[in-house]
Amino acid sequence: MSSNILRKAYNKRPSSIISRYQSISKLFLSSSNPQIQSTDFYSSIDKPQHHASKFEFLSKNASGVSLASNKRLNFSCGCSLNNTRLLFSTQAAVQPSTADGLTVDAIVANQWTILDESESDWKSHASAIAQSIRLIKKRLQWEKLKVRLEMLSFQLEKPDLWDDPVHAGKISREHGSLMGKMKLVNGLEQELIEHIDMIKLAREEEDHDLESESVKALLKMRQSVKEKELEALLAGEHDSCSCYIEVQAGAGGTESMDWAGMVMQMYKMWAERRGYGVTVVDEMRGEIAGIKRATIKVDGEYAYGYAKAEVGAHRLVRISPFDAAKRRHTSFAAVAVTPILGDGSHHVQINESDLRIERYRSGGAGGQHANVTDSAVRITHIPTGITAACQNERSQHQNKASAMAVLQSRLDQREMARQAQMNSQYTQSLTDNSWGNQIRSYVLHPYRMVKDLRTNFEVSDTDSVLEGEIDDFILSFLTDSMDKENE
């Protein structure tokens, strides 16, 4: 009967971890209640109490999850900034642990064999999850993140913080986002520990239903945490932004313009596959085929995080259909990617008087003389010489607004690169990739192969790649560079 009740609780959505635990503690009496503690449930009696208390403290603040078994120690520790700071300086030492003192690190250290997912072995699942958590931490640059958080909390405490509201806004945004990451990881660690406690408990009770359900829950977690591994690749400050992708044909006339057109088409299809919105902002077609250059806007979460992996020169080798002599040609297309920062997080304030705004591709007397549907606008930022153009909107006003947005993000990116150079401490080295760097080679003749020169990842189905199946290239690059970088 007890297991039935438990199962009901168990089947609820994730928040049920708490309720489940509560029901367990009610049914079986919690270990943390010394008077009625039944040591049978745990192999180890001397569970370090301070451990639990600190954990309680942590979980209250960091993940909002509270262990019912520790209710007794539920001292108040609100969220005042002082406490927060204390929290960050202490939590490095604290890790959630099972009733018998097992921590995530200990699980990793145990090196339990990781079997296939289909094997219903809790130790294997637990081990896999613990490994994933460790990888996530690594990708989040855990140690740096903690230092950074501490620094940010320190700054947030300053009484004069809001004297500079722009700076304050920036700090609080970053603080919020890093806190989110910290909570995520803390939550995962805790969840793993709770699952293990449950399994052990079920075993003690010889409740096989409960045990198998707990193992299933663990398996589920193993799968979801795998996805989080990927998400952790995109933890850069601007990774979640939408972005612009710009493709420019290299030297070599029609063949390379055609190639630039193919590359742009590949990104359009990739973006559509991922469910992103795609709009052409600026496009300069080649006279015969392809494009001289083009810029698209890719709208959606993490568009920049993924697309930034594409920055660089892309090389094509094939027999050119534009060469009557049917010779083999090598051509290049350069790809640049710019994040679109949200309002209020711009790094550069554009001065209207620094701009030169021009209508282009306009000839003749204009005004009432001309009927045009083309109202292309190019904006030049005179001090930097950076330009942006848009011609795909239906009014000049909108073309100007779009071009301004492109210009803004280019200036922002330039400024971020400058700042990154100045303080190389907490930066994303990926964006530094100059777009002259050759990153990938697409060979269509004499054999067919797309190969990433950074990761050596390769695919022989060139058509699928050119139709936008580039996720594997992106992920392998992100994994590689992330995991290398944090070594």
């Binding site: 559509e272 021009e358 005004g367 003389h369 009927n371 606008v377 009014s395 909108q398």
Partner: protein, 369 residues
């Protein structure tokens, strides 16, 4: 001057009347060749609802639409740069883009056409016009050089989408800047922001609506046009942007209907006809063959209406009031400024000539002393 302008007015009105007549015969509204006829006019104001506002009562499979699109694309490609070479008309790249916009306006949900989903060729799309109508429209675009904006019944202008049809000038991108000039002015002058503005020769109502949207709560606009079609279309657009309490559209000649506001107007804005009569024949086909001559012909040197309006500005504006006129270019700007400095030298100051984004000296602005 009075006499000649009167004469011109009456001659234009004749032209105008004959064109209207012409139009009602020649211009068959984009109608449903299908038997399921659609009530096109929910409001009696405008008989020609822009395509994008019509109900999506037609259907076609994706593959049928794509076949039509290929036909239309090929037709556009066949033009190459011949229109550009002959009269600075659109080349095939621009026509291709127009084609995409036509499809965008015709489709209830333009999204799926962008993707290449080879598998679902027979998905059924909801259209706002029958494929047969689209065929006729696109042929008119290419073969008759009918302006794209008349084809789809609207023009995107600033952040507005304005209904337009034969008989009404399609607002030009250059003219958008007048709103920026007004905006700059009223930002610095609260009194003007809350005052009475007039848009003379309002056409589709573009300038009036653009100004109406940036004025303060008590700011008002009177929009005037001689053409009854312009008055109809402008009223429709004003209603569509829900500005009927702020903007009143009146039929009449220039500032005649405004006599009661003499000396009380805060802003006086116009894009009057300014093309010299001799240039009308050589205009780009889209303009010369399809747009109303009443909106284009500015008399022998193109300045008749502009000069008339200078007088109006002197008469109507209150001290500190602002005016902005669009012109044909540098010559007209210089002439206007010179004229004002000599003939109306005690009426205006702060006269400025302002270029458009193509670098052509396009606008004259000033302040009533």
């Amino acid at each position: 001057m009075n006499l000649s302008s009167l004469a011109r007015l009456s001659s234009l009105s004749t032209v105008f009347a004959s064109r209207t007549l012409n139009r009602s015969i020649a211009f068959k509204p984009i109608s449903c060749s299908s038997s399921v006829s659609v009530p096109h006019a929910p409001t009696s104001l405008n008989p020609n609802l822009p395509l994008f506002l019509r109900p999506p009562t037609f259907t076609a499979t994706l593959s049928d639409l794509q076949k039509w699109q290929n036909w239309a694309k090929n037709l556009a490609s066949s033009i190459g740069s011949s229109f550009t070479d002959s009269d600075n008309g659109p080349d095939s790249e621009i026509l291709h883009r127009e084609l995409n916009w036509l499809i965008e306006d015709a489709l209830q949900n333009p999204k799926p056409l962008l993707t290449r989903n080879d598998s679902d060729h027979d998905i059924v799309l909801q259209l706002r016009a029958d494929l047969g109508d689209l065929y006729t429209l696109w042929k008119q675009r290419i073969e008759k050089r009918r302006p794209f904006q008349y084809i789809v019944g609207c023009e995107h202008w600033r952040d507005l989408v304005l209904s337009v049809e034969e008989g009404v000038l399609i607002p030009r991108p250059e003219t958008e800047l007048i709103i920026d000039l007004v905006d700059d002015t009223i930002k610095q002058n609260e009194e003007l922001k809350e005052g009475l503005w007039v848009d003379l020769g309002t056409g589709s109502g573009a300038i009036a609506i653009g100004i109406g949207k940036i004025l303060g709560d008590s700011g008002r606009v009177i929009a005037i046009d001689l053409s009854p079609i312009a008055v109809q279309v402008a009223s429709f657009n004003v209603n569509r942007y829900n500005l009927q309490d702020k903007i009143s559209v009146k039929q009449g000649s220039w500032f005649e209907p405004l006599i009661e506001f003499e000396g009380r107007v805060a802003g006086f804005v116009s894009n009057p006809p300014y093309i010299p009569s001799g240039h009308i024949k050589g205009l780009q086909a889209e303009v010369g063959r399809h747009e109303p001559i009443l909106a284009l012909d500015g008399g022998e040197d193109g300045m008749s209406d502009l000069l008339h309006l200078c007088k109006g500005a002197a008469l109507m504006l209150k001290p500190g009031g602002f005016f902005a006129f669009e012109t044909n270019g540098e010559d007209q700007c210089l002439f206007l400024v010179d004229h004002m400095e000599t003939i109306h030298h005690d009426s205006f100051h702060n006269l400025k000539i302002i270029p458009d984004f193509a670098g052509i000296q396009r606008f004259v602005t000033g302040i009533r002393i």
